[in-house]
Symmetry: C2
Subunit: 112 residues, 2 copies
């Protein structure tokens, strides 16, 4: 792995929270949480390549994801074991919270 990835001991909660505190990055983490490695290309939505490159960097440098070069692409995966060991329950409560918000928004839409 690249040296740009922090070791588990170098991970800091404010960096993890900042990384997760963005709708786009949180959406990416929710996809990665399904498991396995994903190409950057498969995760790119309707934003520019430079914006996505910024998001990968924030996620990687904070310790939230692994980023591994493979041919012309990078493969991304969630550092779930490292995060769960260092911050027990954090990732799960965030992922459940993201679903709670989604349900609130759907209810809001239906109420219109």
């Amino acid at each position: 792995m690249s040296s740009r990835h922090p070791t588990p001991e170098q991970i800091r909660i404010q960096d993890v929270l900042t990384a997760l505190g963005n709708a786009k990055r949180l959406a990416i983490v929710r996809v990665l949480d399904r498991g396995g490695e994903h190409t950057c290309g498969s995760l790119i939505g309707d934003v520019s390549k430079s914006t996505m490159t910024h998001h990968w960097r924030v996620l990687r440098d904070s310790g939230v994801i692994w980023q591994r070069p493979s041919g012309r692409e990078n493969l991304l995966s969630l550092r779930r074991e490292d995060l769960d060991r260092r911050y027990p329950g954090l990732l799960d409560s965030v992922l459940v919270g993201a679903r709670t918000d989604e349900e609130s928004e759907e209810e809001g839409e239906r109420g219109k």
Copy 2:
């Protein structure tokens, strides 16, 4: 309470994570977690008033704290019940995580 406080249903996890993803704001939340209301003055550290005003706003607008005027001051308290109900386990895992980081840093200092 001021209308600038979101209702529990208006709270969004990315705003809460962004609010907590800052060393100064996280330190404030750790103090507020001891309970009760605190004056802004008692929580101000070595940063300017305008910086602190920004931090109060981020914490309040995200739904993390209540801010209540009292005389010339504002009284601040943690919205723990609202946060715990909406995002079970989130605040606790963040606060435990902040202690984990602190211990890592102390060990790092001792190792020098």
